[in-house]
């Protein structure tokens, strides 16, 4: 089966743009149609994907800007297949959300969401370094306007803070990306190219690699956000409109994690080994910090934000264990976290609606009395977040810790505490929202409606299905991680190289 990735990438934008020409509510429906087309294509791709094939599938490779050697090059393999599925699912849910609960100026909102989906899908499928950077930066634009146009009362400063934070990283990454292409071209005496497959064959000098890797890592860590560079996150999470925030939290941070796997590790393997310890320590600190903050925060959005920080730190830990298991676990966990966090933000909305807009756990409570169905569905989400055995998150975290265990024993032991802390903060948030006494702000005690179920139930079903059968994603990812074009072989080789040199020196 041939699936044109260009159609997948541009369908959301095209439909949403057409929607801006239509009046009012219709625009939202057209945006939904676009995201459903993308969802359909990605499901078809999931079913059609050849698990045993090497390398990229559904490749699109055309000339785009020959002056800069940038190619319109898209492809799918085990690394991004499931993340694409996640993206289309989450954006379809968000689009449905804005259809069911109309926002002000729905046409523009739907257009921006379509642009965001296109940018994210472009970043996930891009196989050209500059194309990746372009889409990575483009992802920010729709959220800039979404926050300015529909955000909370302090959106101005929150937005500017978020944009400056992330663009400092992104722009440095842009310079590093151009430098990577230029230096590689100078080394091989070939023409300027940014194709990832060509660039990964060139090995740059160790010092250069370290500088370039640092620029990329900074961009990805800010985007996640990781500990130390998360300063923009609390404000942005508080001010962003919820349908956008669900997609933002579920998907955009994954692009950063994916960037490590697609770009930073294959292109700068030596530097990845050099930075391994630092990044693993950063991840472990991030796990503990995120969990502690999620435990003390009272705003539901912030609890989810800090829990995301902790989860993303888990993913980074898995990636920088530089082991097959760690990377596989990171991939699964990236999908898991996205699947869980998007519906949780919808629950935040539903809870706030029952409490006059309050999103603070101190003002909430007792929602389960009137809303048993909502409470049960949320419980599934909460249990999945805290990685209860049997959930897909358990599998993901298990793999990550297994990988980390092989790489750095001590760090992995500390990281284990994060698993326990996750249950503390998730259950606290759940109990204080749904159980306990009826909170002071809770006014309308009622269960969720059928329309709300349209959004929440399918997502919960997917989570449960994924929990029952995580092998689907594991197998698809296997080839990319372990197959004949192994991501880590090159890193293993470089890690082995100094040892080999040392041994030959010692021999005589």
């Amino acid at each position: 089966m041939t699936i044109h990735l260009s159609i997948l990438v541009f369908a959301p934008l095209a439909f949403a743009f057409a929607g801006t020409l239509l009046p009012g509510r219709l625009a939202g429906y057209l945006g939904l149609a676009g995201s459903l087309v993308a969802l359909g294509l990605s499901v078809a791709m999931l079913l059609d994907f050849n698990q045993s094939a090497d390398g990229l599938q559904y490749v699109t490779d055309d000339k785009w800007i020959s002056a800069l050697g940038i190619r319109w090059s898209l492809g799918v393999d085990g690394l991004n297949l499931w993340l694409i599925g996640l993206t289309t699912l989450v954006f379809a849910a968000s689009s449905l959300w804005i259809v069911l609960r109309p926002v002000e100026r729905p046409g523009q909102f739907a257009f921006l969401m379509g642009l965001a989906e296109t940018a994210v899908l472009g970043a996930f499928t891009a196989q050209d370094l500059l194309l990746f950077v372009l889409f990575f930066d483009l992802m920010l634009v729709p959220f800039l306007f979404l926050m300015f146009g529909w955000g909370g009362p302090e959106r101005r400063s929150a937005t500017i803070k978020m944009i400056i934070y992330t663009l400092v990283g992104s722009l440095l990454m842009l310079a590093a990306a151009v430098a990577t292409g230029v230096l590689a071209a100078q080394q091989t005496d070939g023409g300027l190219t940014f194709a990832l497959s060509d660039l990964s064959k060139v090995s740059l000098g160790a010092g250069t690699q370290r500088l370039l890797f640092a620029a990329f890592a900074l961009a990805f860590l800010i985007k996640m956000p990781a500990f130390l560079v998360h300063g923009w996150m609390p404000d942005a999470y508080r001010q962003m409109p919820l349908p956008a925030l669900a997609a933002f939290s579920a998907v955009l941070s994954k692009v950063a994690a994916y960037g490590f796997l697609r770009v930073a590790l294959p292109l700068f393997p030596d530097a990845a080994v050099d930075f391994q310890t630092i990044l693993m320590i950063l991840s472990v600190v991030g796990i503990i910090y995120g969990s502690a903050m999620a435990f003390t925060a009272t705003n539901l959005r912030l609890i989810l934000g800090y829990s995301s920080l902790a989860q993303l730190s888990f993913i980074t830990l898995g990636i920088f264990s530089l082991t097959d298991q760690g990377v596989q676990g990171a991939l699964i966990q990236a999908v898991n976290h996205g699947l869980v966090v998007a519906p949780l933000f919808f629950v935040v909305l539903l809870a706030a609606e029952r409490a006059g807009g309050a999103e603070d756990v101190r003002e909430l409570g007792g929602l389960a009395f009137a809303g048993p169905v909502l409470a049960s569905l949320t419980l599934v989400l909460a249990l999945a977040t805290l990685a209860i055995p049997g959930s897909a998150n358990f599998v993901g975290e298990f793999f990550i810790l297994f990988g980390a265990f092989k790489a750095k024993l001590v760090l992995s032991v500390i990281a284990f505490t994060g698993v326990a802390m996750a249950s503390v903060y998730m259950l606290r948030a759940y109990i204080r929202t749904f159980h306990n006494r009826v909170g002071p702000a809770v006014v309308a005690g009622r269960d969720m409606t059928l329309r709300d179920g349209l959004i929440l139930v399918p997502l919960v079903i997917v989570i449960v299905a994924f929990a029952l059968y995580p092998q689907a994603a594991l197998r698809d990812g296997e080839q990319a991680v372990r197959g004949k074009t192994p991501l880590l072989a090159k890193i293993d080789a470089t890690r082995g190289a100094p040892r080999a040199v040392a041994s030959t020196k010692a021999a005589p």
Partner: protein, 507 residues
């Protein structure tokens, strides 16, 4: 035997001739008493002669010749820049339609001066001789001094013109002094001969020459508003009529960079080792000064003035690298810069008339709700200036970074991106003013974006009275082109590469 008349390559000179003819004709037609003729025919003729110059430049594309006994190069670089100047001139004419500036200064005079200034720019961009360089420089500047002061009834406009006159004269004096030193050191005024003389005698460490280079660089830095010679820029930009400011921001900048490219990357190329370090330091200083200066500005024109200083810093990087890639990158950036800036100035011009708030940032408040076309135009212009992807500004930055890294100036590319990051702080303030309608309204925060009452923006700006269709039109057009070249930049890259190849002395 009759004496043979000198051969004149009229075809190569044709863009210049079109402008000169336009300058004379508009001045004459402006004397008619009929109001319709003065307010509509004169601008129409101006646009026609700019258009003719553009058409003739396109027709001449690919020629590589020197006219006027080698004093003026007609090649893809000068032709490309001519197109930019004329495009800037057309937009300025459209923005000035019905403005106080044309009314006060007289329609014929205003447009004739505009055309003369572009003539000077054409000479400057093609100058291959110290004499023609200075001629072009003065022909460009003197009409601009008058144009800045053309809103006779507004004190700030007069102040702007006077300031520009004084500072510009200092710049000109410095420049001509420097040119004299270069002539003294090399014994010739032709760029090619200067380069050969420097190559042959190795006078690149000659004190006479170094003084000349330093003074020349200073003089040109005044015109290109390179820090620390930029101080006039915000004052002049703020005071001048918006149409003139927009024109100065794009066309003068392009002309100054055209001559900097040709003088430094052709005539003084053998001495690159002496001036490249100075210029790269100047580039970094300019980036910092421009971006820091723009941070606290509430006047949009002042903000854009500082932003133009910063952009000059980015473009200097393309000069410093002394490769044809650098020239192409600078030319590309100049074209992109023209689109982005004119889009912004069109919105400012439109809002000035509609709100009566002048060019203050608050004149943009609530634009997103009341005037979506202007709002998107302004947002696109700001994001493009900041270098966001899917706008042409992104590729402009990528191309400059590419050129810088390619010749070992990686640190300069870091300065460019850090400068861009800093610039976000003030560009985003503008975008925020456009879209964040008013100060915090608690009602706006209904969870999940529940519908907020539509009529709540009562304290927004008054409804547009005297709308300015041409400003809106040019703004939308420039913004659309910015997006178009952000997605399909290849045609622009082709033109820039042709221009880059024009300077044969470079790799």
């Amino acid at each position: 035997m009759t004496p043979k008349a000198p051969y004149i390559d009229w075809a190569a000179l044709s863009p210049f001739v079109a402008l000169a003819a336009g300058a004379i004709v508009t001045l004459m037609v402006g004397l008619f008493r009929s109001r319709v003729v003065r307010t509509w025919v004169v601008p129409g003729l101006t646009v026609v002669s700019f258009g003719a110059a553009i058409g003739l430049s396109v027709w001449q594309w690919g020629t590589d010749t020197a006219v006027v006994s080698g004093a003026l190069a007609i090649d893809d670089l000068s032709l490309g820049l001519t197109i930019l100047f004329c495009a800037g001139g057309i937009v300025a004419t459209l923005l000035a339609l019905g403005s106080a500036a044309t009314e006060d200064a007289g329609h014929g005079e205003f447009h004739s001066l505009l055309l003369s200034s572009v003539m000077g720019m054409v000479v400057l961009a093609g100058a291959q001789d110290l004499i023609s360089l200075f001629l072009g420089f003065e022909l460009l500047s003197i009409p601009l001094y008058v144009l800045c002061a053309s809103e006779l009834r507004r004190a700030t406009s007069l102040e702007s013109g006077l300031k520009y006159l004084i500072v510009g004269s200092v710049g000109s004096a410095t420049l001509v002094y420097g040119l004299a030193f270069i002539y003294g050191a090399t014994g010739t005024t032709s760029f090619g001969a200067i380069a050969r003389s420097l190559d042959a005698t190795g006078t690149s460490s000659d004190v006479l020459l170094l003084t000349g280079v330093a003074l020349t660089l200073t003089g040109l830095a005044f015109k290109a508003s390179v820090a620390p010679f930029h101080q006039w820029t915000p004052d002049v930009y703020e005071g001048a009529p918006t149409a003139v400011t927009g024109f100065m921001a794009v066309a003068t900048k392009a002309a100054a960079f055209g001559v900097i490219l040709r003088l430094f990357d052709v005539a003084l190329l053998p001495a690159a080792a002496t001036w490249a370090p100075i210029m790269s330091v100047l580039a970094v200083i300019t980036i910092i000064v421009g971006n820091v200066g723009a941070l606290g500005q509430s006047s949009l024109k002042r903000m854009l003035a500082y932003s133009s200083v910063a952009q000059a810093g980015y473009m200097l990087a393309g000069v410093v690298v002394t490769t044809s890639l650098g020239v192409a990158a600078t030319a590309f950036y100049l074209a992109v810069y023209l689109l982005m800036n004119l889009a912004a100035f069109s919105v400012i011009a439109a809002r000035e008339r509609e709100t009566g708030l002048g060019d203050d940032l608050s004149s943009l408040n609530g634009l997103g709700a009341s005037r979506p076309a202007l709002a998107w135009t302004m947002s696109i212009a700001m994001l493009a200036l900041a270098g966001f992807p899917a706008t042409a500004g992104f590729f402009g930055k990528v191309y400059l970074i590419d050129a810088a890294v390619n010749n070992g100036y990686g640190w300069l590319s870091v300065a460019i991106v850090l400068g861009s990051a800093m610039s976000l702080a003030y560009y985003l303030r503008v975008v925020a003013a456009v879209w964040v309608r008013d100060e915090p309204r608690p009602a706006a925060l209904t969870p999940g974006g529940q519908p907020v009452m539509a009529g709540a923006s009562a304290d927004g700006p008054p409804v547009a009275r005297a709308s300015h269709p041409f400003a809106v039109f040019t703004g939308v057009l420039c913004a659309a082109a910015t997006i178009f070249f952000g997605i399909f930049p290849q045609p622009l890259f082709d033109v820039a590469q042709d221009a880059g190849r024009a300077l044969a002395s470079l790799l």
